[in-house]
Each structure stands twice: as C-alpha cells, then as structure tokens.
C-alpha cells in the first residue's frame, strides 16, 4: 500500500467523523488537527482504533503522542511506518 492510498483512507475517515465547519474544504497535509480543536480525546482513540483495523497494524501507547497525530501528514507517516 502506498502513501496515496493511506492518505485517501485517512481523509475519508476524518471527513466522516469531524464536522465540516471545523475542517477546511481542502484539507491540506499540514492542517493543524489538534490545535484547531477539531479532535477530542474520544475521537482520537476512535480514529486510532479505525487505523489499526483498516491497515492491520498496532500502534503502541508510547507512539500515541502529539507529534504523530498533529497533521494528516504525520498520521500517514505513522501508518506507513507500521506497514510490512
């Protein structure tokens, strides 16, 4: 699976759970997801569960840190790192 496929899934997921008012229409890779207040703690862990299911990966607790989830780009990176 390449980065574009991961990105398509991540964007589709984010747009299905986060209100359109909190996200720009064209969600750029470096949009600050956390600073914007678009995600709260329940949503963050729902998203992590989704990523683990969708890609068959396991994200360790110590990897659930702001740097890995602050933007679409950082989410793609962490998923990509875990793929075989």
């Amino acid at each position: 699976m390449n980065q574009d496929q991961i990105k398509a899934d991540v964007l589709k997921y984010l747009k299905s759970v986060i209100s359109t008012e909190l996200l720009p229409a064209e969600l750029s890779d470096d949009f600050p997801l956390l600073e914007s207040g678009a995600i709260d703690s329940l949503e963050l862990f729902k998203m992590i569960a989704h990523l683990e299911d969708a890609f068959g990966i396991e994200i360790k607790p110590e990897e659930i840190v702001p740097d890995n989830f602050s933007t679409v780009h950082s989410i793609i990176e962490i998923v990509h790192r875990h793929l075989p």
Binding site: V17, G37, D40, L44, P61, E62, I64, V65, P66
Partner: protein, 519 residues
C-alpha cells in the same frame, strides 16, 4: 492576618517567600513575585477602565500563565471572574457574556477574532461598554498592560462574589453558579490542610478553569505557597505524554476527573515509569470504577488516593480517603463523609433524616454554599432553602438532587440522580439541554438523549431522533448541528435515527424501552 479572600491566600504566600515558584509552564518556573506583579498590573488596568467591585469579567483565554495572572488580577480589582470554555461554540460564549452582563473581557487577539465573528457578541459590544484586554504572550508583558505593578488597595468582603461557573441547564440554557470568596476559601483552605500541602508540593492543573476542580489546583496550592503545574493543551489528549509530563514535572499531587485517570491507566504506559514524588491522587466529578482504582493502587502503592464529591453549588462537600490496604471486591466506592466545615445530611421522602441503609436525598449546609444562580431567583429558591432540620434559623441548605445511602460505618454511598442530570468525563450534563438543542433543528420532530454507562468515559450520550417529513439528516449532520450550540462534551457520541420514539402509557417518551433497545 487570616486571609478573607482567595487572592489574599496568594498574596500571603508571596509575602512569605516571593522567590518561590508559583507556577510551572513548559519547563519554565514563574515565581510568586512575577505572577503577583503581572496580576497587580492587570488589576490596576481594570481599575483604570472603571471596573467596580462585584462586576463580572470574562476570562476567555487558553490555559497559560497569562490566564492565571488574569484570574488573580480580576479578583484583586474587586471584580468576579467568569471563566469561559475556549472549546465551546461562540454562540454559547456570547450567551454567557450577555447573561451575566460582563463589564470587561480578558482574551487573546486570536480568541477575540473568533468571538467577533458572532453577531450576538458584536451586538453586545454595541449595547454596553465592554473593556477588552488582550494578552497574547504566554506570560503578560508590561507593554501589554501599561500599568503600575503596585498591589491595589481595594476592600473586598469575604461575602463578595468571586467567580461564576456556568453549568448545563435543564431548560436548554446554561446557568451561572455564583460563588463567594468565603465559599471558595472554606474548601481550599480545608484541602490544603487535609492533604498537608507545603511549599515543596507540585500540584497538577488538569481541569480547565471553568471546571470547579480548578479551584483546588489554583487556590489550595497558593494557600500552601506551593507550585501549580499547568498541563499544556497540546498534550492533554495523549495519556502517554501526560504521564511523561507528570514524571518530568515531579508532580506530587494530582487532581482530575476519574476518566482522565482511566486513560492514564489504559494508555499512559504507567507501568514503565516511576513517580517517586507523587504523594496524593485526588479524583472527583463522577464515579471511579472500582476495578480501575484497584489497578491504580497496585501500580502506585505509595500513593494515597481520595474520592472527592460535591456539586459546583457547594464545591467539594464529602471525601473518602481510600484505605492503604488493597480494596477487596468490586463494589462501588463510597463518597465518604462531610468535609470543609460543611454539614451533609440525607433526607427520606417524608423529609426525615434517612436511617442507615435507607435511600435519601443529600442536602448540604455550611460556608461552602453558592450565593445562588446568576439572575435566576426562582431556580435559586428551588434548591437553596431553609435548613431542613433547623428551619427556624438563618442557615440555608442546598438540595443536591443526588440520591445517597448512609452506611453503618458513617460513609455515604452515591446512588444516582433524582432527575435527568448525568456526568460524562467529569462534566455535568442536563439531558434536557441536549434534547432542546436537537429540537432546535427544524427537521427534528422528537428527540431523547440517554446516558449509557461506559467504562472509560463514565457515560456516553446516545441521541434518539425522529424527523418530521422532509429532508432527513445523517448522523454527522446532526453532530455538526449540535456542535453549533453545545460544548464538545455535550455532543452525543452516537445518534440513532428512528421513525418515531416509543411512548409509555402516560404518553411520555419511554426511556426504559430506548435503553433496552440499546443493550
């Protein structure tokens, strides 16, 4: 001199050791003298704007040293602070600012720009003169404030209003709980003593300032001359980062809602870390599942755990300190017994003191009681009345709406609510407020909201909605609509779209059937 106001607690510690660290933020310490100087400048600036004793001042700032200095500055000017949730929709913020007729607002340029986009806020500014002070640095600069740092000499009475906390209201609009300096002092000075806080302590500040847990973090810490450590908002969602922050900040006293502790236990990686400085873990706001408390005890055997209970209207009114021997069984933990010079009592349905093991409603009396709900005398009167056991006297008692049972060992057990108020992630939510938000949508015909028990969050809100004829909305659209008027913690986690809602024999929505359908 015994402090008569919340800010005098801070000033007394500042006079004792002005170089001691008062707060820690992103690995920087700010001394009592530095925070005092910034707070004095803010107070003098407010006084120059013509602020009078007892007036309300909005605090719409992200948690930062600037917000702490602003809060003390407001109190020093003789006014009361109204802390606002930066994550709430601006409509709700404008409503609160208008409701309590604020005279000044302390905010940042970015937050002010957000607020100014709301026509209701623009209208408010036109209709009344609101002084605006913007603080854009983490720590206020003299250039931003342009006023003297002398301690202002304003007479403030212990019965003066100190702060207003807005909580969910059952009829659809939030209500403002008014607390005096005296009410605040009664809890925070008791807590500083009970937990043996000293100048060496480092206390976490997890709760936002609009949540009553923050009064302990700020004022009990100040009373002891200790250091309050503010958790940066960018790591709040990440239990592992919060745990690392706790260790690196050498936190000795932790206070949060149970759900934050559950997150730390499940996802914080605590078993791989050491917390040699941690002495006390305090939790309040909802029931902490016993199985998690046992895990916490097993992981941190040297730490004393305490269950605190109390609505915003009385602040903390009971405490149960968990025995140091490991808990047996899975029974719910008690809320304990009265604290902080308060009297608590359970009355049965005939208004008599409930016997041991008999269900009763909890009443609270003493110096911690609220002054009332801002601008709502009828609502105040409905819950704040004559003392039920000594009705002829002047004392008042607050009727909590919480059902409890007194055990033979003298501890109270919390059983539930008399009404539709629930707790989720420590926040108190009136289901009626969420329902009226949903009914505010023109396509919605019927709506009911239930709290479904959840191990991690305490409760999750489930909404059941039926539409009128016409365009149907999907779940995301309903959630988006709710986010326009409700703070994030009140937006239902799940929506169930039904043809119509089931009714019981009385023609009311059958909540029991909805609940059954869910399990």
């Amino acid at each position: 001199m015994t402090p008569k106001t919340l800010h005098q607690l801070f000033e007394r510690s500042c006079d004792k050791d002005s170089f001691a660290p008062a707060l820690s933020w992103k690995a920087n310490a700010h001394s009592y003298a530095q925070v005092e100087s910034a707070a004095n400048q803010i107070a003098n600036r407010l006084l120059r704007e013509g602020i009078q004793r007892g007036e309300r001042i909005g605090l719409f700032l992200d948690k930062s040293p600037a917000a702490v200095a602003a809060l003390y500055g407001i109190l020093k000017s003789g006014a009361a602070y109204v802390p606002l949730d930066v994550r709430s929709p601006i409509k709700r913020i404008s409503h609160i600012l208008g409701d309590c007729a604020i005279r000044a607002l302390i905010t940042s340029s970015q937050r002010l720009a957000q607020l100014s986009a709301d026509p209701a806020f623009a209208g408010l500014r036109q209709a009344s003169s609101i002084a605006i002070i913007t603080l854009d640095s983490d720590f206020p600069t003299s250039a931003e404030l342009d006023s003297s740092n002398d301690r202002p000499n304003i007479a403030v009475n212990e019965n003066d209003l100190a702060y207003i906390l807005y909580t969910s209201g059952s009829t659809g609009v939030p209500k403002g709980v008014m607390l005096s300096h005296r009410a605040g002092l009664s809890f925070v000075t008791w807590a500083a003593e009970y937990f043996g806080l000293s100048a060496n302590d480092r206390v976490s500040s997890h709760a936002p300032f609009h949540f009553d847990l923050s009064t302990f973090d700020l004022f009990s810490t100040a009373a002891a001359g200790a250091c309050v450590c503010l958790i940066p908002s960018n790591i709040m969602l990440f239990p592992h980062s919060v745990a690392e922050w706790m260790a690196s900040e050498k936190i000795s006293v932790w206070y949060s809602a149970p759900s934050a502790l559950t997150q730390l236990l499940l996802r914080g990686g605590l078993e791989q870390m050491a917390f040699p400085n941690l002495r006390h873990v305090l939790f309040a706001g909802e029931v902490f599942p016993t199985k998690y408390l046992k895990q916490l005890q097993a992981l941190l055997p040297q730490v004393a755990c305490h269950n605190l209970y109390g609505p915003s209207e009385t602040n903390v009114c009971t405490v149960w300190s968990v025995p140091s021997t490991p808990l047996a069984g899975e029974d719910a933990i008690p809320i304990g017994r009265a604290c902080a010079a308060l009297e608590v009592m359970a009355l049965n349905e005939s208004g008599q003191l409930a016997q041991v093991d008999e269900v009763g409603e909890l009443y609270v009396s003493g110096p911690g009681l609220m002054l009332g709900y801002w601008g709502q005398p009828e609502k105040t009167e409905a819950v704040l009345g004559a003392h039920p056991l000594r009705p002829e006297g002047q004392e008042k008692a607050y009727r909590t709406g919480d059902l409890v049972k007194l055990s033979a060992d003298g501890n109270y057990l919390f059983l539930g609510r008399r009404d539709h108020q629930v707790k989720s992630r420590g926040y108190r939510i009136e289901l009626g407020e969420v329902e009226s938000a949903l009914l505010g949508h023109p396509a919605v015909a019927e709506a009911a909201v239930l709290a479904i028990a959840d191990d991690e969050a305490g409760n999750l809100l489930h909404a059941y909605v039926a539409f009128k004829e016409g365009p149907l909305l999907n779940e995301l659209e309903l959630a988006t609509f709710c986010r326009k008027t409700l703070p994030p913690y009140m937006v239902p986690a799940q929506f169930h779209i039904l043809q119509s809602l089931p009714l019981n024999a009385n023609g009311k929505i059958d909540r029991a059937r909805l609940r059954d359908a869910n399990s």
